[in-house]
């Protein structure tokens, strides 16, 4: 009588263990999928700023919802993000630049860091004019 290469009980144990391990992996993937649902809508990336005429030449207007600042100068409209490039606090607009209250970073009027832990300039944001004469700010 030949001895079996794999006894029945060991085969069944192996099958059960692999089914459970496999099920565990699937369950983990399902759990991750379950917990990844986002209940809040994503932040908007387009902001309607209204008619271009409301922003006169040489004005620097804060747009708090973004947060960003809209600059109207000789070369047209541009925008700078007010999110500090260090760790994300909203920088305060000052007479000749921007200052971050959290860790003391300072930026000049073009957003370039002149002091403090921030190492990269404030992000430039795209501003476009629609056919109706309105300005739209894009953060992406």
């Amino acid at each position: 009588m030949n001895k079996p290469s794999l006894p029945r009980r060991d085969f069944l144990k192996m099958t059960l263990d692999s089914l459970l391990a496999f099920g565990g992996l699937l369950g983990l993937a399902g759990l991750i999928r379950f917990l990844s649902y986002k209940t809040e809508p994503p932040q908007p990336t387009e902001f309607d700023l209204g008619l271009a005429e409301t922003y006169p030449l040489d004005s620097v207007t804060a747009i708090p919802e973004v947060p960003a600042v809209l600059i109207h100068n000789d070369s047209g409209f541009s925008a700078l993000s007010l999110i500090c490039t260090h760790l994300g606090c909203t920088v305060q607009v000052q007479s000749a630049g921007f200052a971050c209250p959290c860790h003391g970073s300072r930026f000049n009027s073009t957003g370039y860091p002149i002091k403090g832990p921030a190492a990269t300039p404030l992000k430039k944001l795209r501003v476009e004019r629609t056919s109706d004469g309105k300005l739209v700010l894009y953060t992406n």
């Binding site: 029945r8 699937l26 379950f34 990844s36 649902y37 986002k38 908007p44 902001f47």
Partner: protein, 609 residues
């Protein structure tokens, strides 16, 4: 005799080949299931989640922009089909074919209304005198940057549309058309979940600005789960023959007499939780029906699914139902988790009732198990309290009266009533405080007490000698089963129950009704949860304190004194159903059961006339 000898059953070469073949088939099935599920997951998670941009119009395609939309199903129009028609016929003239609003570009394309400020807007469906669009309040865009910002949920958008639109004849949309066009606007924004027929039931959960992936089919994953459970159950059944019901009396006596125990592998934690062996009589399915183990399993299911639901449930009156709708409709596998929780809870009440019948009809309440019987009754009360508090957490139109009646019943208690009411409700009337309290009781207070009670109940089972059977000298057979076999039987029961529960949850969703609002709710059918229907029927007869508090407490009191006041079966009669010595208790329990079932059926019969 060493019961754990590793003598493998000898199999012939044919059986080996069969075994390998069966294993390969299982492996293949696993991979097919995994591939199918993984494909579906990847497809839904990499689908584009940005708002779809409709093709930019070219001069040549302008004519197409004004044409009647093509329906996806002309013979049987879907809600979106109807919505596209409503939008095209009523809204498009002012809001643009892509929802862009009355832009200069759109006015040029639309043509005939271009000069409507001067000549008044006329067209086939406008008022005969025409109307003037105010120059400083042009029709807004309904898609794109800055649109629909004042609406968070589909319900809010619908409420605005049906009351104020169309602008030249507000309130003229029927609810069906209103929902259809709301769904269409959401579709334009890419935020309408797939397969949803928009109406009041879940419109408060659907967010106007939440982009959704293009396909949401959880059923594949759920069926994979059921299939896996079936495979595991199959393997557990097959294992029965390879683990013999060893006769262990010899080795047990050796240990009792002080000789060193025979060498055997040290058990893992799961095995360690069980005695090394139990009399085979204690483990007969036909005796216990597995109700105790089933109850433990269902409780564990409720714990896990409950914790998962806590990630999304919000215990505030205006958000509770919405958060449940979010779980049931929008969260991946949320519907499965919620349905498992609901059906698990209802099954637990039923299983506990059958467990009570088993205990009382087999005389298992006898000394030394009397205290454990009382523990069991306490656990039953805790379970009903957990079920009721969980029911209330829905805070929707279907459950509001249950809360009102339940808490006012407490008020009916003379003397303490008002204070107890305020304790339960957290104030003088029902509101956010009541919801938070019920939530805290349900997720924490009652659950902790239940866990402590279950652990104590299980400890007492071990200490009192396990499941009730005659003592060893009176027993009919000396057969015992090892802890390995016992655990296998428990795992088999749990897997089979999980399989049934998952199938139930896939095909039969838990109930939910529209959220409670401040306006009075018109309910022609106010029903208690099913396990309290008998109380609701009793309350139809008169005094609420006597019928709603005293009578149920009397029934509980009768149950409590059963082990102390009534004749009990002899020790030799234990371990089987309807022993002669316990006749009085059996008849009493049968009468109580008939009473409860009778009242429940009476409660759901239609009112005469």
């Amino acid at each position: 005799m060493n019961p754990h000898s590793s003598n493998s059953p000898k199999a012939s070469p044919n059986q080996s080949g069969l075994a390998i073949g069966l294993f390969l088939v299982c492996l293949g099935a696993m991979f097919i299931l995994a591939a199918w599920w993984a494909y579906d997951v990847v497809k839904t998670s990499t689908a584009p989640q940005t708002t779809p941009t409709l093709a930019a119009p070219t001069p040549a395609s302008n004519a197409g922009r004004l044409a009647q939309p093509i329906l996806s199903s002309p013979q049987n129009p879907t809600q979106l089909d109807q919505g596209s028609l409503v939008y095209w016929g009523i809204c498009m003239a002012c809001h643009g074919d892509r929802g862009q609003g009355l832009t200069n570009e759109w006015r040029a394309v639309y043509g005939e209304d271009q000069n409507c400020w001067a000549s008044r807007c006329h067209s086939g469906n406008h008022p005969p005198d025409g109307f003037i669009i105010p120059r400083d309040n042009l029709p807004h865009a309904v898609t794109g940057a800055g649109s629909l910002t004042t609406y968070t949920t589909a319900q809010q958008l619908y409420d605005y549309i049906v009351v104020t639109m169309p602008w030249w004849k507000p309130g003229s949309l029927t609810p069906a058309k209103g929902w259809a066009v709301t769904a269409y606007v959401l579709k334009l924004n890419g935020t309408l979940p797939q397969g949803v027929a928009l109406d009041a039931t879940d419109a408060s959960a659907i967010k106007v600005h939440n982009p959704v992936p293009t396909s949401q089919n959880d059923q594949i994953g759920e069926i994979v789960l059921a299939a896996l459970l079936g495979l595991v159950a199959l393997v557990l059944i097959l294992q029965a023959n390879s683990k013999r019901k060893a006769v262990l009396v010899g080795s047990r006596q050796a240990t009792l007499s002080g000789e060193p125990a025979p060498a055997r592998p040290r058990p893992n934690f799961l095995l360690h939780l069980h005695p090394p062996s139990i009399p085979a009589e204690q483990a007969r399915w036909s005796y216990t029906l597995g109700t105790g183990g089933l109850a433990i399993f269902l409780f564990m299911v409720l714990l896990v699914t409950g914790i998962l639901e806590m990630f999304y449930y919000i215990p505030l009156p205006d958000q509770a139902t919405i958060s449940i709708q979010t779980i049931a409709r929008l969260v991946p596998y949320g519907g499965l988790i919620r349905n498992l929780h609901y059906w698990g809870a209802q099954a637990l009440v039923l299983v506990l009732f059958i467990h009570l019948l088993r205990i009382t009809w087999t005389g298992a309440y006898k000394k030394p198990r009397r205290f454990n019987y009382l523990l069991g009754l306490a656990l039953l009360m805790l379970t009903l309290a957990l079920d009721f508090t969980g029911y209330i957490l829905r805070w929707d139109q279907g459950t509001s009266w249950a809360l009102v009646v339940g808490t006012n019943l407490i008020k009916a208690i003379p003397g303490l009533g008002n204070q107890l009411y305020e304790f339960m409700v957290g104030g003088a009337q029902l509101g956010s405080a009541a919801l938070i309290r019920f939530y805290s009781w349900h997720t924490f207070g009652l659950t902790l007490a239940m866990i402590a009670g279950v652990v104590w109940h299980l400890f007492r089972i071990r200490r009192d000698g396990g499941i009730a059977v005659p003592p060893a000298r009176l027993r009919r057979s000396e057969e015992r089963i090892s802890r390995v076999e016992l655990v296998r039987r428990e795992m088999l029961l749990m897997t089979a129950a999980a399989f049934a529960l998952v199938l139930l949850s896939i095909f039969w969703p838990a109930p939910i009704t529209p959220p409670l609002t401040n306006t009075s709710v018109d309910l022609t059918n106010a029903r208690a949860p099913w396990f309290f229907l008998w109380v609701q029927q009793l309350l139809k007869f008169g005094n609420p304190f006597l019928l709603g508090i005293v009578v149920p407490l009397l029934i509980l009191a009768i149950l409590i004194v059963i082990p102390y006041l009534f004749p009990k079966p002899a020790d030799s009669e234990l371990g089987r159903w309807f022993p002669k010595g316990g006749r009085m208790v059996q008849i009493l329990i049968a009468l109580l059961t008939l009473l409860l079932i009778g009242l429940t059926i009476w409660a759901i019969l239609p009112e005469p006339g």
